[in-house]
């Protein structure tokens, strides 16, 4: 088992590009898209001299823009998607975004100059690509992060983040499946997510 695997999820936004040459080229190629994302993340949020709640709201905007949240949400629901009505799905979508925004933003203050090094791009089916990268820390540590992208018009959106082999989407999917099947059903899951968001808000 490798270092700081899951912890690294929290660092996925704490990254700076080491390929700034591509960053300006917009998002027409997958590596440039990730470079752009990491550069913005670091300059506008992590390294920015603004209060934490402002960081959080900027992160939410970026997250909406760069990630296909409804798509991820549907993947996470998986087979349970058919068991839900539209109201439940909407509620799930809102809560899921809240969970991620609050979970990640708790760690913004720990940013310590990490940078993102984009290594390669692998084809991932018809409309996608996987960008392989590393988060490199000042102490020489590095964490492998793969970004699973899908083409959206002329640009891309992230549909999964895989840190040292652990997929965020799959982990949420399996965990939520357990929560649903242990008794409370889908509304039970929504209730627990709401509680988690409240706790995270309180702690932050």
């Amino acid at each position: 088992m490798r270092a700081h695997i899951l912890f690294a999820w929290l660092f996925v936004v704490m990254i700076g590009p080491t390929a700034p040459l591509h960053a300006q080229s917009g998002a027409s190629d997958p590596a440039a898209f990730i470079g752009d994302f990491s550069q913005k993340g670091i300059s506008d949020i992590l390294a920015a001299d603004i209060p934490n709640n402002e960081k959080q709201s900027r992160f939410r905007d970026m997250f909406d823009q760069y990630f296909d949240i409804p798509y991820i949400g549907r993947f996470v629901l998986g087979r349970y998607l058919r068991l839900t009505d539209e109201g439940q799905r909407d509620k799930f979508g809102t809560l899921f975004e809240d969970v991620i925004v609050h979970t990640w933003s708790r760690r913004f203050s720990e940013y310590d100059g990490q940078t993102l090094k984009v290594n390669s791009t692998v084809d991932d089916g018809d409309n996608g690509a996987i960008v392989k990268s590393q988060i490199v820390g000042n102490d020489g540590s590095n964490i492998g992060v793969d970004w699973r992208l899908r083409k959206r018009g002329t640009t891309f959106q992230v549909v999964d983040v895989i840190v040292e082999g652990v997929s965020m989407a799959i982990t949420y999917r399996q965990e939520y499946s357990t929560v649903i099947s242990r008794g409370g059903g889908f509304d039970g899951l929504l209730g627990e997510m709401q509680k988690q968001v409240d706790n995270l808000k309180g702690a932050g």
């Binding site: 695997i5 087979r79 082999g165 982990t171 399996q174």
Partner: protein, 301 residues
């Protein structure tokens, strides 16, 4: 070759026996009724028929963690600086590397076997008995193999999930592999385990140090997972399987079909075909005892 079964070995073996007995005699989770396909799919995906027992062991482990393990790790962190702990991890990785070498060969990965052999030589000599990872600096990066991974490469299923207090998540295949590696594959294990050498204390010391370095390396990550999950047990099970799958693939990207489900949900509410049951394929085979390869962590550069 005659294998010496020392006192330490036999005590390990009896612990293993007790655990396996507990596994076999405990109540299993009951399979959901067949007319509830969602519950059945979730049950099969979890591949955790011993879940009630595992959750009990998991809770026990969390108590042990609070009262015993965590204070020790915190003490270790307070006394030994980051650099020192990294050196200890390097050392632990180096003395384990003959096991990796054997499994590189058994998996037919001759290039990686060469890397492992090269590392063993340079780290043991220039790296001062392995405390310094010289190999990493000269382009021989660390990796870890074990019998569980070899069996997976040969086509073995992972078997039911098991949670072992102190050691963490595993499954039948990898738990078996861990024991065989420790007692039959590892040359240092033979030597320390030989009663004529009177080195039982070193065998125990090594085991303790393995637990300590493993916990040190994984504690922050698992704490974070705990803090951010609704069901820590389930999140850990999922993450652990994925890590093992990644190790078995030697870091290659997961096969595309594992993510076919992404294609099934192109529009909200419109699900293409009955393919949602395909979720069982989302996770490739995997998993194993946390302890064995994790000392690598801090050493990883």
């Amino acid at each position: 070759m005659k294998i010496h079964i020392s006192g330490v070995t036999s005590r390990f073996a009896s612990v293993a026996l007790v655990i396996s007995a507990a596994l076999f005699f405990s109540a299993c989770a009951s399979r959901p009724p067949a007319d509830d396909p969602f519950a059945v799919a979730a049950f099969e995906e979890a591949n955790d028929p011993l879940e009630p027992l595992n959750r009990t062991l998991f809770k026990t482990d969390q108590v042990l963690d609070t009262v015993l393990v965590r204070p020790i790790v915190n003490g270790y962190r307070a006394v030994v600086p980051d650099r020192g702990r990294r050196s200890v991890n390097n050392f632990m990785n180096n003395i384990r590397s003959p096991i990796t070498l054997v499994h590189d060969v058994l998996q037919g990965e001759m290039d990686r076997a060469g890397v492992t052999a090269g590392r063993l030589v340079v780290n043991t000599t220039m790296g001062f008995f392995g405390f310094f990872d010289v190999g990493e600096q000269i382009g021989l990066p660390y990796h870890s193999e074990d019998l569980g991974q070899t069996m997976a490469v040969w086509g073995a299923e992972e078997g039911p999930y098991v949670y072992v207090p102190l050691l963490g998540p595993s499954n039948f295949r990898d738990g078996f592999g861990f024991l065989v590696d420790a007692f039959l594959v590892d040359p240092l294990g033979w030597y320390l385990g030989n009663p004529r050498n009177d080195l039982e204390w070193a065998q125990w010391g090594r085991f303790g140090l393995l637990l300590l370095t493993t916990k040190d390396a994984t504690m922050d990550a698992t704490d974070e997972l705990n803090a951010s999950s609704l069901d820590y047990y389930s999140a850990l099970r999922s993450a652990y399987r994925q890590i093992r799958a990644d190790e078995i693939r030697n870091g290659a990207p997961p096969p595309l079909e594992d993510f076919d489900d992404f294609e099934d949900f192109d529009e909200m509410g419109r699900i293409s075909g009955p393919g949602t049951e395909g979720t069982a394929s989302v996770l490739p085979e995997s998993s194993g005892i946390v302890a064995q390869s994790s000392a690598s962590t801090l050493a990883h550069h």
